[in-house]
């Protein structure tokens, strides 16, 4: 009886364990509805460089140089945009629209846009490991993100949103169009 239980338990363990390959194929997927109007796209270029020394240059140094490109899109979130935000007078052909403030909608720094230009390791230093390279690329991403407020992209996004709605309402026959931001 004990032998039977032990054998059964062993079989249960063997067949209940998934291989690493199966676990590797698991993924989390989700899809979300949204309503965002992107009105401007910025292309930002950055040179990523590092000069890594220990004890000055005595034991050698590690240098590298990459070029990278990031694509930023900004616009307005229209999820809550409704008729209450539009004050239209079709008789007088005037309309006042109140839009939400512009925000960054997407930031994309794809792997194919990061190119190695120069790399040198001297002395007794090891090459840059994949972990170190990833860390440095992530620092570059952070550096671009932190500089976004200085780009003027949100002002451009609002200006373009204004132009978009002006054109749209013009096509609908309105003559006096006022666009405001919350």
């Amino acid at each position: 009886m004990k032998k039977t239980i032990a054998l059964f338990s062993l079989l249960l363990i063997i067949f209940s364990c998934k291989s690493n390959e199966d676990l590797m194929n698991k993924k989390i997927q989700s899809i979300k509805d949204m309503a965002e109007l992107g009105t401007v796209e910025y292309t930002v270029r950055k040179v990523i460089k590092a000069d890594d020394k220990i004890f000055g240059n005595k034991l050698g140094e590690r240098k590298f140089l990459w070029t990278s490109v990031a694509y930023l899109k900004a616009g307005i979130d229209l999820n809550d945009f409704s008729t209450s935000d539009v004050d239209a007078d079709s008789e007088n052909k005037t309309v006042t629209v109140t839009l939400p403030k512009a925000k960054i909608l997407s930031f994309n720094m794809p792997a194919e846009s990061i190119d190695s230009v120069y790399s040198r390791v001297s002395g007794v230093r090891t090459k840059f490991s994949p972990e170190e390279r990833e860390q440095l690329k992530q620092q570059a991403e952070v550096a671009i993100r932190e500089d976004i407020p200085n780009f003027g992209i949100l002002q451009d996004a609002e200006k373009n949103a204004k132009d978009f709605f002006t054109v749209m309402f013009s096509r609908l026959g309105y003559e006096t169009i006022t666009i405001n931001f919350k």
């Binding site: 989390i28 899809i31 949204m34 292309t43 935000d85």
Partner: protein
């Protein structure tokens, strides 16, 4: 006397340390096999460089659907290291020459071809000792795909009004972005040596998988259904009671 001995032993120790550093330095220069890794948690940092805005583009992208995926992406790579030792006997049975060939080829998913070659060479009188080793790199990937309608493609003739109804001919639903930033890749594990270009190729492959998954998951169909409703609601805010998207 004791003090003198102490001084001598300190000098000896200092000379040994200096000699070791010189030997290490020379060994690193000429042999390259002695390497010092990143020591003492020394933090790597990039230097401050300018962020240059090289392009500004006006767009009218109405994003209605966003697909998100988190997955483990594994790339494997096989190497075949082989030694070929063959002997060529002369008429008297003497062995004239013995040559050793050592080579390595990187073969991806073509291990069977290598085995066939080994078998063939074995038949030709070549004794081959081969070992297969595998390299592997695994990333945890966070991918985002954004899709919707490009409203700049709606021409004036694509919109017409009939009383309180707006008829609008929408363009094709399209995918705007496949977003993958350096922070979206987490290097989980690796075996073997992976160069920057090899890691880049793996990442591009991973993003292509996310793109295919987004399409298989139905992102375009989602844009064409609930996305279309979103666009209609948007145009309704302009004061129309009915909006018909064609």
């Amino acid at each position: 006397m004791a003090a003198a001995k102490k001084v001598i032993s300190i000098i000896k120790l200092a000379l040994i340390i200096i000699a070791a550093i010189v030997v290490l330095g020379l060994a690193g220069q000429f042999s390259g096999f002695i390497k010092i890794p990143n020591l003492f948690g020394h933090e790597l940092k990039i230097e401050k460089t300018a962020n240059v805005i090289s392009g500004i583009k006006k767009i009218s992208e109405f994003t209605t659907t966003c697909y998100y995926e988190e997955t483990v992406f594994v790339e494997k790579r096989y190497h075949t290291k082989s030694h070929a030792i063959y002997a060529k006997p002369d008429m008297d049975g003497k062995i004239d020459a013995v040559k050793t060939i050592i080579g390595s080829n990187t073969i991806e998913n073509k291990v069977d071809a290598a085995k066939a070659l080994v078998a063939k060479r074995a038949q030709e009188g070549v004794v081959r000792d081969s070992t297969e080793t595998g390299d592997m790199i695994a990333f945890i990937v966070h991918g985002t795909v954004r899709a919707g309608y490009d409203l700049s493609k709606i021409a004036e003739t694509d919109m017409r009004i009939n009383k309180d109804t707006l008829f609008v001919k929408l363009p094709e639903a399209e995918i705007f972005d496949y977003i993958s930033n350096p922070s979206d890749y987490e290097l989980f594990d690796k075996v073997g040596s992976w160069s920057d270009s090899q890691v880049k190729a793996v990442k591009i492959k991973a993003v292509n998988h996310v793109r295919e998954d987004a399409i298989d998951f139905g992102i375009i169909e989602k844009v064409q259904t609930t996305g279309k409703e979103k666009v209609c609601s948007f145009f309704k805010a302009f004061g129309f009671n009915h909006v018909i998207a064609e």
